[in-house]
């Protein structure tokens, strides 16, 4: 693990007498490599290392009898500062139905997450409704309809010939009328560079003013996540993130990159294909997973 390797590095260094700036730089190279191999974007890594370096070159480390322990403590503190301290709950609407809109790249797990979220709040005693606003992907509506059927949660759909903006608007009217206090809107996957489709999301937002807009991202995503997340955030002002496929073995540096570039909270983790596989996201657990 990084902790063990840092301890080994510093043990060797201490044998050479006083710890120098160069020693700390060498140790930081180890940290840099660890984060990069964990898929943290190289720019995000640079910023992180700079923050750590500023502290590591102070008396905290250089003047300490146990520099490796100070180093590890600083790294953990900086990671926590970046990832966030505690879990952040889903906002509940002050009046009327709470609406959650899911957005993201193709195949990131949005439709599945929609089912999972609706299920989570159903278990908490709410009366959820799912909204099939993906009119593009073949059988997307059918996919959500089946999930709703499995969960015994109603799915609002107007077929695939109606615009997602109109579907979302009509869905919220229906939710209010039928007393659904929790509405999850599934949207089609799209590239952040597709202006027309990003504009469509902005129009859905303007039309229904969702309580939450959650960016759904596959945790195994690489460097480009910074540009993707940044664009989605700039256009929609995301309220949070869902990271999916945490049941795999991707180290998940994407979590750090997303946090660094958007400052938005990661609220949930998808941990499997089943509809119960959704957990509240724990930032500290993710930090441990990234640095290994």
């Amino acid at each position: 693990s990084l902790t063990e390797r840092l301890q080994q590095t510093f043990k060797k260094l201490r044998g050479q007498g006083v710890l120098t700036e160069k020693n700390v730089s060498d140790a930081l190279r180890e940290v840099r490599r660890t984060l990069m191999e964990a898929d943290v974007n190289v720019i995000v890594v640079k910023q992180f290392i700079d923050n750590v370096k500023t502290r590591a070159l102070g008396q905290e480390v250089l003047g300490s009898l146990t520099p490796e322990l100070q180093m590890v403590r600083i790294i953990r503190e900086e990671l926590t500062a970046l990832m966030g301290e505690e879990t952040v709950p889903l906002q509940i609407a002050p009046s009327g139905p709470t609406s959650v809109m899911l957005v993201g790249l193709q195949g990131s797990g949005k439709t599945t997450a929609a089912g999972k979220l609706a299920r989570l709040y159903q278990k908490q005693g709410r009366n959820p409704m799912l909204v099939a606003a993906d009119v593009y992907r073949p059988a997307a509506i059918e996919q959500l309809r089946i999930l709703g059927e499995q969960l015994e949660i109603p799915v609002f759909s107007m077929g695939d010939q109606v615009s997602p903006v109109d579907i979302a608007r009509a869905a919220m009217k229906q939710a209010l009328k039928q007393g659904h206090d929790f509405v999850v809107i599934d949207t089609a996957g799209r590239l952040q560079i597709n202006e027309e489709l990003m504009e469509e999301l902005a129009r859905i937002k303007a039309s229904i003013q969702p309580t939450e807009i959650l960016f759904v991202a596959n945790v195994m995503i690489g460097s480009e996540v910074v540009n993707v997340a940044k664009t989605f955030d700039e256009i929609l002002d995301l309220s949070g993130v869902i990271l999916t496929m945490l049941d795999g073995d991707a180290r998940g540096g994407a979590a750090l990159s997303i946090r660094s570039v958007t400052q938005k909270p990661i609220k949930f983790a998808g941990t499997g294909e089943g509809l119960d596989a959704l957990e509240v996201f724990h930032p500290d657990r993710m930090s441990n997973r990234i640095i290994g």
Partner: protein
């Protein structure tokens, strides 16, 4: 000469950034930059403007190869198995591939080997209708290997040229799901000599270093013969395929450049390498 040395190091750092941002990965990037340094030493280069060209050549050497084309072999039916983790674009790629093979004059049968995910068969059904391919499906929750078994016999009976087998997305960390995949492969080999004749691993171009693990694990289970790299119409460069080729030896054969039926291309290594540096 001393000042040119300095320029080289700065330029090498710039190139390093480009490679890392393109998901080439730390190890592969270091190897590539070391090789450039060697070339520069050997040839006594002092012209920095040529560094990027040397780097592109090095990557091209790794990626190129005559075996990087998807050919329909002489076997009938020619069986293509498509696998990969969740959401990467397997079903969509099959739809595109079936359409292309139809256009080339082949009769195509598709097996709905994803019997698990909601509406997987409905999705594939729509693609097959668009492509002009027949579809063999089982009932929801049916044994995937049984559907594949049926499809091989149907392909023979209907004298289909090509059989394409869709499988459910699965994380390579799930032992039981990988075992199911292995079983599907065995059933194919038992019912049809040499099948699967082509094993396509679908990788999403946005994937980071985990793609290498995916390639290794899937290759262990089902000797992968080629990669279909999808979503290259996005901003991710898919640099992970360089390490996959170097470490696992699997060539990229196809790329996905969109969500429409015509958005499938043969892999062009030169174009791909050029795009890394844009």
């Amino acid at each position: 000469i001393a000042s040119n040395r300095k320029i080289d190091e700065e330029l090498l750092e710039e190139l390093e950034m480009i490679l890392l941002q393109a998901d080439v990965g730390v190890q592969t990037t270091l190897k590539l930059l070391d090789r450039i340094r060697e070339v520069v030493k050997e040839r006594g280069f002092d012209d920095s403007s040529q560094l990027e060209g040397i780097l592109q050549d090095e990557i091209l050497t790794i990626l190129d190869g005559s075996e990087s084309r998807l050919h329909v072999g002489p076997e009938r039916p020619y069986a293509i198995m498509v696998l990969g983790v969740n959401g990467v674009g397997k079903t969509t790629t099959i739809g595109k591939l079936a359409a292309r093979l139809r256009q080339e004059g082949h009769s195509v049968l598709v097996a709905a080997g994803d019997t698990f995910r909601a509406a997987a068969t409905d999705q594939l059904d729509i693609w097959c209708q668009r492509a002009g391919a027949d579809l063999i499906k089982g009932s929801q929750g049916a044994d995937a290997a049984a559907v594949v078994f049926d499809s091989i016999h149907a392909a023979r009976a209907r004298k289909a040229d090509v059989l394409i087998v869709d499988t459910a997305g699965r994380l390579h960390t799930k032992k039981n799901l990988m075992a199911e995949l292995e079983k599907i492969g065995r059933v194919m080999g038992r019912e049809l000599e040499g099948a699967p004749h082509e094993v396509l691993l679908v990788l999403d171009a946005t994937t980071g270093q985990n793609a290498i693990q995916q390639a290794k694990q899937f290759n262990e289970i089902a000797h992968v013969t080629g990669i279909a790299l999808t979503k290259l119409d996005g901003t991710a460069k898919g640099g992970i395929v360089i390490a996959v080729r170097e470490e696992v030896g699997i060539p990229v054969k196809l790329i996905g450049i969109g969500e429409q039926i015509e958005d499938l291309r043969d892999f062009d290594a030169a174009e791909f390498v050029e795009a890394l540096f844009i």
